[in-house]
Symmetry: C2
Subunit: 151 residues, 2 copies
DNA sequence: GTAACTGCAAAACTTTTGCAACCAG
DNA sequence: CTGGTTGCAAAAGTTTTGCAGTTAC
């Protein structure tokens, strides 16, 4: 049973990023942001929407994911060259990738691992990255720790 | 003009990893390993092969790239969820990804950035990665520094 | 009313697969 | 010869596109 009451806050959030709060966007936003941090693919979100009785097309799911990403509500995670993952956690953090299952998980943040907040790449500086190509700046540093079962 | 003389060393290298040294594999190996480190996609290698007058099918290029990767001759680089890149440099190293052009470059190794040789993930340990999920071991740590033009 | 948005189906792409023909040893 | 390889074409899977119809405001 999905709560379908209009959500004043969600409407405002969408407006704030310049997106018209349509039925589909509100429903997808509820699925994405109403259940803690998630890592979704277009297909998994589409399946979740259908399972919740939300009427939406796959093309709209793709559009919405990209619009939310452009608006800074989502972050794209590249770990697998056959699928696009989107992360509802847009804070600086890194990922575990489970090679056996294809699943993704956030690497839990510890005090030691944190860099200066809001500083892209701050966390990697301690390991010696100082020289960038001319006229280039860091957009983001992606770190994926790929895991396999031990033994 | 491509040198097409049989290459005793290349034949030996392929045999060493258990691959039969066929015309196509030798030609692709020459393209891949005869011109310094490279980052190729299946399509770019296929185009390069055609341009060099090598008769090979795209399916064989895919097969060969995966066989070479499984044999440890190549390493797969995941930076873009729409394409598979392969790197002829199989040593521990990280990549720049140029968001504007989609190109990849190795991050030049400096003494400060190097970790213990042959220790997967050794380089990232200094930034605090200590706790892994139960019964898991690190297969590899991928670090991609995504760059955009400054200004 | 109007521009933005959605849904559907088709198209575009990359990658994989199945199988007959081919070739290295 | 014989099994591993190759080429082709078709299939599979994900993502994008074009356009008519719908919706938010």
């Amino acid at each position: 049973m999905v709560d379908t009451r209009p959500n004043v806050e969600a409407v405002k959030n969408l407006r704030d990023v310049g997106l018209r709060p349509t039925r589909q966007r509100l429903a997808l936003a509820r699925l994405l942001f109403g259940h803690g941090n998630q890592h979704v693919t277009a297909e998994s979100l589409y399946d979740g929407a259908l399972a919740s009785g939300i009427k939406v097309s796959l093309a709209t799911v793709y559009n919405t994911l990209h619009q939310f990403t452009a608006a800074g509500l989502l972050r794209q995670v590249v770990v697998d060259s056959t699928r696009c993952y989107f992360d509802t956690n847009v804070a600086e953090h890194q990922h575990f990738y489970f090679e056996d299952t294809g699943e993704i998980a956030d690497i839990p943040q510890t005090p030691e691992i944190s860099g200066a907040p809001g500083q892209p790449g701050a966390r990697i500086n301690p390991i010696g990255l100082t020289d960038l190509p001319a006229d280039m700046e860091i957009s983001r540093v992606d770190i994926v720790v790929r895991l396999r079962s031990a033994g």
